[in-house]
Subunit: 398 residues, 4 copies
């Protein structure tokens, strides 16, 4: 913690600040400049509120130095987290995982048709809402539990995993019977009761960045879940609010490499909400993968017009296919990962030999694996079977 | 609803859109321009999702015309809502009501000392947190129910009403025993489960604008509560997120007259969070009152230094005092309310003769009443006595 | 300057940074924490680019401590700047000065009619554009020099001063024949060639905050003018860009007390552009005055409808009138200025005794003078008579 | 233009608006709904200010339908603009062009060393500042004309084109002797005098998006240059201002496909300013290319440390190299361009056969050419040789 005193702060004021720092167990270093005195306080404690010091007389500014998140930080797990859903689907691993589906479950017919299409297109996970966070109380709020049942049935039939939004702690246990991944929407990113409830289960949680949340706040919300003991957290950029109105949100793709540097958690991108414009989804999906995204959340609109739906599925297929021929923003690992090596973990000896350094045929591997994005080894987290309840997921094989 | 077709949209595409509009029960008017065709759809239905039409082939843009909120709109109750807490404290009436208190309840000693000070200073309501929405899971999360008990005790002793933040539906009933007004924080403005739970009680709810919420979204969140049957909603501006970093948030004071034009609900301002800078609270509190705020939420910091606390209380006292001599941004009603008359309700006959038009001595009234901000009559809502439980306020006449 | 090293920075990296700091003439203090090393560099030089240090190996962050503006800072002139236009009109003094007028000069008839109206309403300065910065090249760009002539003529007839926007260095000399105050629009706030050209004249410059400019950047742009020798700079808040779309801009009123604390320059507000909504101008004008604004810029629309124009003039009159009976957000000086005393200049002995502490009858003075906002004495700057050309205002004493 | 009347607007008010529209030459269609009347005005004129209608009594909102830019719109030139610099370097063509260089020219030694490095790395254009728009008047403002001479000399020696920032109309002619592309910085995006001056030359202009400019405003600023007769405009995304502070700006990559749909002008990206973080440049450069960028502007820092400079050059080389093996976000043209076909120009018959449809081996071409992004043919603009002066590029065929 660095404390900058006001210009003209008196000796008594400075001494008062120093005394209080010492009481809190800090070592204090004092730098006296021509106009300002700066105090460096060494040994920050986790539950210490640095803002208390902003109120002291003579203090101009207090700057935190250490990151406020611990379990979510890359230091805590330098090799990165991989969440293994089973059947070869690993989130945070070398492949970009695509989740697709409609805004909401509407009927058996609808959800089966979509499940079949996205499964054929190459998606591994079906996303659809049964509880919809709608701005207006008069809008359709989702089918609820019956919708989840329909979704599970369709997903099982076509070999898909499922992700759906949870809105309240009271839904966590019930939803656990039907879904493989809990989604926390942007509006609930700081619903701390919900985050704590999700810290107590072991199924993965896909946590979306709030519309005005900083990257640090996203990581602190993840920290709530991790602190509860659930380490299977996936983060997701979905656009932030800015003055630009042409796109519904401003898709902040730089959040992808930033978060991947700061944290070991997998980082996804949602270009559908990120842009709010159907025709911008393909280029921005590709850009997200090029920026290093570990997965994509694609909304296949429940179009009022069947031709539109078919076009959307074709686009989805092309997106998934491209992943396998290395043309969809596929990255050579050394390129993206180098900054990680250099700027963040310079002290880890000879760290993580880049994947294709192991030998030969880098391009062939690239063409085959397409989206192998990362060079770091990751520790694997094996989850229990689908449908298993809260905290019990010891052997899920979905 | 206005639908703008793309330049070059085909006749078949236009006809397809018209057909679908007719199926939904709209009357359609078509305007054919040199480059664009525009369709006017008359007769919008409340649970209709206009975005479905954005997806149709050939559609460029869909613009909603009617406001999506109904019960919260001023049309629903042109005269404005007044919430009568009892003992002469009326929110939304001619006086600016000041709520003050610490960030969190910490101890009996602390909360009694503050209650005494703010009561003497002129505040009518004590604000303090027992459940704190903290960005970090490691920060102090509040004393919980014991904190509420301490707060109630102190408030009763010094004749104050209480407001405290509720974070989860599971807390609503318990908190109803201790507080007079539920506060919904900025982070929970779109926690719809919580809003619905608060729609079922009858105690007032102070709903704070989210950090990136538009004014329309704030009103839609209020609509959730109103739609549940609880009409005692107070709105509150507390600053939005922008690029400016000198102040913690950008205090959007224009929201006050805008919301008061769009809605009949009382509109408060929280200059403490709105600026995040202690020394900016007094000028921005005054500016908020000048802009027409119905009430103020002032944080009296639980300062680490006693002298600071005393200074804060003195400032609070001056703020409350000024209200009574007409010097704190007091407004002549006709000035602020005129636009309301002219632009919003021109059809209501000869509505609400401006207060001082009735005759004479406008200045004397101004000096005496200080903060009489509005010229419209308001229907009164009489609530039960402070401390009465959930749903009991049967005297409400709205 | 404080330099935070990365976690894991090596001793060699730290020593390298220290060596470079010493070469630049800094004294360096080193704080070694458990995870980070922090270096305090004392003795910052004005033309030193601290970002060069961000690039050094092992550096995580570089934080500037001293303010980058000097001549614009309040330290440079604690008593505040007052710009005396003559005939009793002083900007930055105890009265709020109102400038009003149409968007653009359109014809002799129009500008004379408006000049007469605003003069009767109580405005002291006429604002109108002859060169219009229009987003579209096809929009009306203003009458140019003939427009300025018409404006001067009308202003002289009705005893008004004039302010008009200058867009390019090439216009400075010509415009000096017609206007009393140069206006720099939001789009040109960082047009440094223009700012330098205005540093060479002695007529006042009204510098508007850019749409996405921080307060610090506004002060740095002012510094360009001051550094050229022209100390007669007026700053102006006119709204910033945010996600909120109901108002055209978000009127950041907190900028008023913030700038007044950081700088000695007069700070105005432009509620017309700040809100972009005609009916929100009166409440936000009052809020700006309550927040401490030294002046207001009010656009009296050149309405297509005469009745609207009359209504606007009536509103303007009421606004000016209220200033004189203390009802328009008039402030007791001690209240707003106290933070200035306490937080910013605690070392200046017993500084600037608050105005009404000098004696008696504070309320009477308040009621009479209305907008006496500041308690500090100010040094006066006496300018030449209106209409005098570039660089001639030799009576300036700063 | 669509005009929405207020709820409760009187017949007289509605008729008044209709009358005024008719006077301006519009055809008017009236839609009368239960609560609102909507007027469609057909036949908008270019120099008509729709905001005049917002002021009329009874009008709630005026919505423009037609785009305010004409020459910059894709309709004006559906096939896209290609700017041919000569020696095979075509901006807007199938290859991504990389411009690189230091922030500022500092010395002959420096600029020659950098020119050699970036030329070897594969960049085609050298970027460097001789006039620097610095926030602070005390920061280094650039070497001026001598810097441009050094830059030209170095560029000629190593076969590079040059781009450098122009800040004022007075510099245009002089700079034309030294540079191949004029750069307009973000701060000057709405410096209309400068834009008009650049409309009179024929050398290409690289126009950067302002920090708070919407995409539409960027296109309107381009329109100023185009309207002057200079059609060689390149647009560039460089990050916008948001609340996020981890990155210096928020790099709005969605602007790339949006602008490419709205306009025929080449669209570049500047990941160096877009992120402000050295280690985020490589991933965001790749993401920009994946999103469809026609070119990249990369700052090779003039590092205080030689090892850093070498690393930056290596990264630049890898970025340029990847372009040629299809691994740097290379796109199959059909994918990105499809939306263009479908949503924007459905009426242009069988438009622009995708490039590789002309034949065979699409993937092989993709792998070889890497960054062939677009499928549309483009009309070529041939410019004079580098160094040729203002207005001489007579071979232009646009």
């Amino acid at each position: 913690m660095v404390i900058v005193m006001q210009e003209g702060a008196t000796d008594a004021q400075i001494q008062n600040v120093i005394d209080k720092l010492v009481v809190h167990g800090f070592d204090v270093h004092r730098s006296t400049g021509a106009s300002h005195t700066v105090l460096g306080a060494v040994g920050v404690h986790r539950d210490f509120d640095h803002r208390d010091f902003e109120l002291l007389d003579g203090v101009r500014e207090v700057m935190r130095i250490t990151q406020p998140f611990k379990l979510a930080s890359r230091q805590f797990k330098p090799e990165g987290t991989i969440i293994d859903l089973g059947r070869g689907v690993k989130i945070g691993g070398p492949e970009v995982v695509v989740a697709a589906g409609p805004c909401a479950v509407e009927s058996r017919e609808q959800i089966h048709a979509i499940a079949e299409s996205i499964s054929k297109a190459g998606a591994k996970i079906m996303r659809a809402g049964a509880f919809k966070p709608r701005t207006s109380p008069y809008a359709f709020q989702g089918l609820g539990e019956p919708g989840l049942k329909l979704m599970r049935e369709a997903a099982d039939k076509f070999g898909l995993f499922t992700v759906s939004e949870v809105m309240d702690p009271s839904q966590v246990e019930m939803m656990g019977q039907y879904i493989d991944i809990y989604q926390v929407g942007a509006r609930n990113m700081q619903n701390y009761h919900l985050l704590r409830a999700l810290g107590e289960v072991r199924k993965p949680v896909l946590l979306k960045r709030g519309m005005s949340a900083t990257m640090e706040e996203l990581l602190l919300s993840a920290e709530y879940i991790l602190a509860g003991g659930n380490y299977n957290v996936i983060l997701c950029e979905r656009g932030i609010r800015t003055f630009e109105t042409y796109t519904r949100n401003t898709f902040d793709l730089a959040a992808i490499p930033v978060i991947q540097k700061l944290s070991h958690l997998p980082m996804w991108a949602d270009p559908s909400h990120g842009t709010g414009r159907r025709d911008k989804v393909p280029p921005m999906a590709r850009a997200a993968v090029a920026a290093g995204a570990d997965g994509l959340l694609i909304e296949v609109h429940n179009d009022p017009d069947h031709a539109l739906f078919e076009r959307a599925v074709q686009r989805l297929k092309r997106l998934c296919d491209e992943s396998h021929v290395g043309t969809c923003g596929g990255t050579t690992s050394a390129f993206n990962s180098e900054p990680l090596t250099v700027d963040f973990l310079p002290h880890v000896g000879t760290p993580h030999p880049p994947r294709h350094d192991s030998g030969h045929r880098p391009h062939r591997r690239l063409l085959r694996a397409g989206l192998e994005k990362k060079s770091h080894r990751r520790s694997f987290v094996r989850l229990g079977s689908p449908g298993s309840g809260k905290g019990k997921s010891s052997a899920r094989s979905v």
